[in-house]
């Protein structure tokens, strides 16, 4: 594929058709088209409406606990400086964590859910549906549905229901109905199919609260805008705390909402290196990974064109990741565009590397990170020792890892 010409700004997309270059768009059944156009109309009304913004900011502050801290990870930094010294380099950049794990519900997902529930309320919708992988978005959806008095149905792959049982229980406590989906491998892709089938059936009163920056336009744009609070805060915080921009920012990419949220405000800061981490699973040689941008090809699924794991016949493959939140064969369309334009690097991190980073962070920082976020930390562990001491890296700690302790215990052969 030809590399597109470098634009003046990387922050102007999507265009009116919802395209980021060749990616994005509105590839949905006709039944859903009027709904998506209606959503777009409402979104355009509210996105610059001061009243809407004020309501969202109020909730973000007093309900979700924003702004999240930008934390200097001194323990990890010290550890990686020792690694650097042992290599004879004597370097090691300063590592900061953007603490999205400290938000209400324990991840960045609440940012998007608060925004969309206010949108659903404005649109007069009566019922919320959502899909979830790790259960973080399901929990955040169930939370805002409880807070605003909406009935909520969460579609979740049967495999994920089994490996994320604490989150399933939380959703049920919050009053949501969790519907396990057995199709395919029973993961996020299958949950999204089922949510779309629900939406196409219940068009009158239902709001589909998509959890990641993917799907038909305008979802990739609106989810990104709600998540961009991460990067806007981080940018202001690092300027305040260090007096300059970071050298490198890193985030894990499944569908890619925490990553686009961190990246977007930095896209035009050319001196900032931006790295997205894909789930490398058991390695990119086989099919047991979810590295759609490193090992997939552009295709059309779930309403948008983007990089997908697929076979030569255009059938979508089931990926694999230790992390349910990264276990998706596609990625948000803006990431695909940022990949092709060369602005953002996307690299894979293996299951085992993420697990090591999970253990390391727990030990040296006293923070149990989500396995998704552990992928991003794992890459920092790789590159930080080779950087200079006066350099700065920000890692998006997108969620906390309490939900993953069962998975990690079984990986380590322990019983709890």
């Amino acid at each position: 594929m030809n590399k597109p010409a470098t634009p003046n700004s990387f922050r102007t997309g999507p265009d009116e058709q919802g395209m980021f270059g060749i990616f994005g768009g509105r590839f949905v059944a006709e039944t859903l088209m009027p709904l998506i156009l209606d959503l777009e109309r409402h979104w355009n009304e509210v996105k610059n409406d001061p009243e809407f913004r004020a309501e969202l900011t109020g909730l973000s502050t007093h309900y979700a606990g924003r702004p999240s801290k930008l934390y200097f990870a001194e323990g990890l930094t010290r550890h990686l400086r020792e690694v650097s010294s042992a290599k004879g380099l004597g370097g090691g950049a300063k590592v900061y964590f953007k603490r999205e794990d400290l938000n209400h519900t324990g991840s960045h997902k609440i940012n998007n859910c608060l925004g969309q529930i206010l949108l659903a309320k404005r649109m007069g919708k009566k019922r919320i549906i959502a899909e979830t992988g790790a259960g973080q978005h399901g929990v955040a959806s169930a939370t805002v549905a409880a807070r605003f008095g909406f009935p909520c149905v969460v579609y979740m792959g049967a495999t994920d229901v089994a490996r994320q049982s604490p989150n399933v229980f939380r959703m049920k406590l919050l009053g949501a109905e969790v519907r396990p989906v057995t199709a395919g491998h029973g993961t996020l892709k299958d949950a999204m199919n089922e949510a779309l089938r629900d939406w196409v059936t219940n068009v009158e009163d239902t709001y589909y609260l998509i959890g990641t920056a993917a799907g038909p336009h305008p979802y990739p744009e609106l989810v990104r805008d709600f998540q961009s609070v991460i990067g806007s805060e981080a940018r202001a915080q690092i300027l305040e705390q260090e007096g300059r921009l970071p050298d490198t920012i890193i985030a894990a990419v499944g569908g890619g909402s925490n990553a686009i949220g961190l990246f977007h405000p930095f896209l035009d800061d050319k001196e900032v290196r931006i790295i997205g981490i894909e789930a490398g699973g058991r390695g990119l040689d086989g099919i047991e990974h979810c590295a759609s941008m490193n090992a997939g090809a552009p295709g059309v699924l779930h309403g948008n064109r983007t990089y997908l794991l697929q076979n030569a016949d255009g059938q979508i493959m089931d990926g694999h990741s230790i992390s349910a939140g990264l276990d998706y064969p596609g990625v948000g369309p803006e990431h695909s565009w940022l990949r092709d334009s060369g602005r953002v690097e996307y690299v894979p991190v293996l299951d085992d590397e993420a697990l090591e980073a999970f253990k390391l962070t727990t030990r040296v920082e006293g923070i149990i990170p989500a396995l998704e976020s552990a992928h991003a930390i794992a890459h920092a562990v790789k590159i930080v020792p080779d950087m200079d001491k006066d350099q700065i890296v920000i890692v998006n700690l997108s969620g906390r890892g309490d939900k993953d302790v069962h998975t990690v215990a079984s990986m380590l052969g322990m019983e709890i």
Partner: protein, 279 residues
């Protein structure tokens, strides 16, 4: 240029009855069986054939067609084989229109230009691609029309009068009215509402309007056919195949015969319907 679909629809109009449009899944449960089903359809009374292209993630389909697609993929069906199946059928039947129905990604990966060339060579007359609304016409609809292949669009209960012209703009062959909001295989909608919707669409177009989603029996075909130019049956046919497959996918009876029996009944249904007052 009149296509096989145009000619078939004109002929039925002269006969004063609606078309029976039959959907089946290409490659379900395997290539040879599926081809035998396809060949049995016209004799049993099908007027137009919708040949399903299996896709791993059929977002607008209910459990029956999802399962059929998975059986076909498991049986080794690919888009290449679906086109080959159409070509083999066409070698023995040059009249019955074939419409390919499915999702965009396999076509996109095959390559749009190559696909249209091979589809024409295989005797394909029309396309229904569920996830390509008019907003995405540049992808496949416009190239297909230029190539002389009908692009059949779905109109739904959510397609209001303001939107209908956009939906109909590049539609050709016929309009496929989806009788209710939902996935394939759901319960049939109120027939009075369906008749009103068909009338509404006909106010915007001269194209024939066929109605689908939820039609399973000869009686339903007759009632729906009274007010439409055609009746589409899909899930019931796919179920007829599934019903003669054992737990391990082994055939317990001839699927082609099971489908033929069902379609013969449906054909009697549409033949006893009177063509709509829209004439």
């Amino acid at each position: 240029m009149a296509t096989r679909i145009d000619r078939r629809m004109a002929k039925l109009r002269n006969e004063g009855r609606p078309a029976l449009v039959t959907y089946f899944m290409g490659g379900d449960p395997d290539y040879e069986t599926s081809l035998s089903i396809m060949k049995a359809l016209p004799t049993a009374g099908a007027d137009i054939i919708e040949l399903g292209m299996p896709f791993s993630d059929p977002m607008a389909d209910g459990p029956a067609i999802q399962a059929a697609g998975l059986r076909a993929l498991k049986g080794g069906q690919t888009l290449v084989k679906t086109l080959k199946m159409a070509a083999e059928f066409r070698a023995g039947d040059n009249e019955t229109p074939i419409v390919l129905m499915g999702y965009y990604n396999p076509i996109y990966i095959y390559g749009v230009d190559r696909f249209l060339r091979d589809a024409l060579a295989s005797g394909i007359d029309g396309l229904i691609v569920v996830d390509l609304p008019p907003e995405m016409d540049e992808e496949l609809c416009i190239p297909a029309l230029k190539a002389g292949i009908n692009f059949i669009r779905l109109a739904t209960p959510t397609t209001d009068d303001k939107r209908l012209p956009k939906v109909l703009q590049n539609t050709s062959g016929f309009v496929y009215y989806v009788s209710m909001t939902g996935i394939t295989g759901s319960a049939l909608a109120d027939t009075g509402k369906v008749a009103a919707a068909v009338k509404r669409i006909k106010g915007h177009t001269d194209l024939p309007v066929c109605v689908g989603f939820g039609v399973k029996t000869a009686e339903q075909a007759r009632v729906i056919g009274a007010n439409a130019d055609g009746v589409v049956v899909g899930t019931a046919i796919v179920n007829a195949v599934a019903n003669v497959l054992g737990p391990k996918g082994e055939k317990t009876a001839d699927p082609a015969e099971a489908v033929a029996t069902l379609v013969s009944g449906l054909a009697q249904g549409v033949r006893s319907a009177r063509l709509a007052a829209a004439e």
